[in-house]
């Protein structure tokens, strides 16, 4: 009995030591490994880009974690990643916290659509006053005079409007509240712009998929989600009135018309909370990748610049298939030029 007892202990020791030895051998192959974290909205597109790039450049591995815009910005400030991503760009206070500075590059764009669940209604039109009123909790029933006026001749049910909003903080909510605050002074006063505002009405669901599920399952529901989601699941999308008074349906063309009016300053952060072009869809936004202006690693820098150039030029061809809006040519040129701002730190190894 004693010998088998000792034998067990020796066996356990060998197994433990072998685990320890194995974990020490990580990353012995040479090759560059880039770490990124940030927004979940462009995650499907980024994963596709990074996979394609890795496939054609064998020794490069890119890891992107979609933890949310806020966490992405925090990671950039804490210097735990090589690049971040954010739908909410970066505030000047946050940019000042990074010594060496950051360079934001617009990568792609998307628009936010209102999806609804109304039996028998296919092309729901909503004017600015109406959809602001819905999300303020003022328009409570589907046969409200405001909705009836926007949709003459359409049979609207006499049921409550079940608003669905996001339960978790998100860049999508930030952009949507930015737009609502721009078109409705009352909204700017009360919930205001925030990634998780105090919505006056509605049930909350977690993530784009949670909102989608809630809307699809609740009769009379309306909620806001990304265009890519709605397109891939073939959900009905409301036709919204823009600043110049025309009712525009969401599509790549109408979102591009909205984004083309953006004026880009030097730091490449531009918003279009309320575009006034005639055929512009009212709710569209860019999303950015955040890089440091100075890198210390000689091996990573050229790879990162090459990756970003790929994303801004050839990568844009993949955007539309996944429901994202390709960058307008002028913006892509500006972003390509800004990649030159990313350089080696003076005291790099």
């Amino acid at each position: 009995m004693k010998t088998s007892h000792w034998g067990m202990m020796v066996l356990t020791a060998i197994i433990t030591l072998s685990f320890v030895a194995c974990s020490g051998n990580k990353g012995s192959t040479e090759g560059v490994r880039l770490q990124g974290a940030g927004a979940s909205f462009p995650n499907p597109l980024y994963q596709k880009w990074f996979k394609t790039y890795s496939a054609s450049h064998g020794s490069v591995q890119i890891d992107y974690q979609s933890v949310g815009s806020g966490s992405g910005v925090k990671s950039v400030i804490d210097k735990t990643v090589d690049f971040g991503a954010s739908d909410m760009a970066m505030t000047p206070e946050d940019m000042a916290k990074v010594d060496g500075g950051v360079q934001l590059l617009p990568m792609t764009a998307g628009c936010i659509v209102l999806t609804y669940n109304l039996k028998g209604v296919t092309n729901l039109k909503l004017s600015r006053a109406t959809y602001a009123g819905i999300f303020l909790g003022k328009v409570k029933k589907w046969n409200d005079p405001l909705i009836k006026k926007d949709n003459p001749g359409v049979a609207l049910p006499d049921g409550p409007v079940n608003v669905v909003v996001r339960a978790d903080g998100s860049g999508t909510t930030f952009v949507f509240t930015k737009h609502l605050s721009a078109i409705s002074p009352e909204f700017a006063q009360n919930p205001g712009v925030n990634s998780l505002p105090n919505w006056p009405t509605g049930t909350r669901s977690k993530g784009n998929d949670g909102v989608t599920a809630s809307v699809m399952m609740t009769p009379g529901a309306i909620g806001y989600i990304e265009y890519g989601y709605a397109k891939s699941q073939n959900l009905p999308m409301a036709i919204l009135e823009n600043k110049s008074g025309s009712f525009v349906a969401p599509s790549t063309a109408s979102a591009q018309a909205a984004l083309a009016t953006a004026q880009f300053p030097d730091d490449l952060i531009a918003w279009v909370p309320d575009p006034d072009a005639k055929d512009a869809y009212p709710i569209a936004t860019y999303t950015w990748i955040i890089c440091y202006k100075q890198y210390h690693d000689k091996a990573k820098l050229p790879v990162l610049r090459d990756l970003l150039t790929y994303c801004i030029t050839d990568g844009q061809k993949e955007s539309e298939a996944l429901g994202y809006i390709p960058l307008p040519a002028a913006v892509a040129d500006k972003a390509k030029a800004a990649i030159q701002n990313i350089a080696l730190a003076p005291n790099a190894t």
Partner: protein
């Protein structure tokens, strides 16, 4: 008087050393667990300190959660946590103890046995074991409910339970809308779907522990009751359940703790709206769901507030456990007094 080597001997030095090392290790591991809990509570308290200073006890009594105006209050979340947990506990206890009684009285085994008797197979070497195996399968099936991940419960609730109960809820709201618990209509996620799924989640805990307690009742008690002429149900209610009450209460307490802390399923099903309402169909919010949803994208200013909410949740769990321990003590004192 020359003795052969004695069979018994005092412990050698090595044995004594091994004994004290082993005892020391056990003590240190036990203390490490206690210290780990204290460490967690202290870290959360430190992170929450600025928010506690700023908002004080008003935090527990106000209703708005507005990050823009920096007004925070968790009264709706405290209400939602207690309301959903109590309701789920009620339903879970009823079904859980019933299932435990069913398992401990071997009704299914008796039924299979009577079927085998029809075919004269009850003493067959292979088929004769069937009643016991069927009982085992049933017991394991119920315990398997505990193995299903919380996220899966949430998705199931969202896609199956809500559409299933919607017609009944709408009917109840239309006919009996004057009755407060049916006051609003079911606009998607809400208290009732969350309670239904939560009670299924705590069922295996209650059933497993209650079954164990019921089976541990000494057979002498059961036989004595039958000998005195009690029927089966009189025995169960008057003799067996009271004897096993201590174990059953322990299981209920454990289940309550689980219900209070349940995060993912409730984050998907409870509707996350900061309202306080008695209606079963209105959305609500719980502390755990609030933390799960707001923490990832919280601004640095909000993190202190969220830590404060976490501290409140820890406090509620502690108070509940203390009340439960007190009830357990009173219950067992009454029963064991007869011995």
């Amino acid at each position: 008087m020359a003795e052969a080597k004695a069979i018994t001997q005092p412990p050698t030095g090595l044995q004594r050393a091994t004994d004290s090392v082993f005892r020391g290790l056990c003590y240190s591991f036990a203390w490490l667990s206690v210290l780990a809990v204290i460490f967690i509570v202290l870290r959360i308290a430190f992170a929450a300190a600025p928010a506690v200073r700023q908002y004080g006890l008003g935090f527990l009594a106000t209703r708005t959660w507005d990050p823009n105006k920096e007004q925070f209050g968790i009264l709706p979340e405290i209400w939602g946590t207690m309301y959903t947990s109590m309701l789920a506990l009620g339903i879970g206890t009823a079904f859980g103890v019933a299932a435990a009684v069913f398992l401990s009285e071997s009704y299914l085994g008796a039924f299979v046995f009577s079927v085998l008797k029809l075919f004269h197979l009850e003493f067959h070497p292979f088929w004769g074991k069937l009643p016991e195996q069927v009982e085992n399968v049933l017991k394991n099936l119920i315990e398997l409910l505990a193995a299903i991940p919380s996220v899966v419960y949430g998705l199931w609730g969202l896609h199956v339970v809500i559409p299933l109960i919607r017609p009944a809820c709408d009917w109840l709201h239309m006919r009996m809308g004057w009755f407060a618990p049916f006051g609003t209509d079911l606009s998607g996620p809400g208290v009732l779907p969350a309670v239904v799924v939560l009670s299924i989640m705590i069922l295996p805990t209650i059933t497993a522990i209650s079954r164990q307690a019921l089976v541990s009742v000494p057979p002498k008690l059961r036989m004595a009751a039958y000998g005195l002429g009690a029927t089966q149900w009189e025995t169960i209610f008057a003799v067996i359940l009271p004897t096993a009450a201590r174990g059953i209460l322990g299981g209920i307490l454990l289940a309550f703790g689980r219900a209070l802390g349940e995060t993912m399923a409730l984050a998907m099903l409870v509707g996350n709206a900061n309202t306080i309402s008695v209606s079963l169909f209105s959305p609500a919010n719980t502390l755990a769901a609030l933390l799960a949803n707001t923490f990832p994208e919280a601004h640095p200013k909000e993190i202190g507030v969220l830590m404060y909410a976490a501290l409140v949740l820890l406090g509620i769990t502690l108070v509940v456990n203390m009340i439960g321990a007190f009830i357990l003590q009173r219950a067992s004192a009454g029963i064991e007094g007869g011995k």
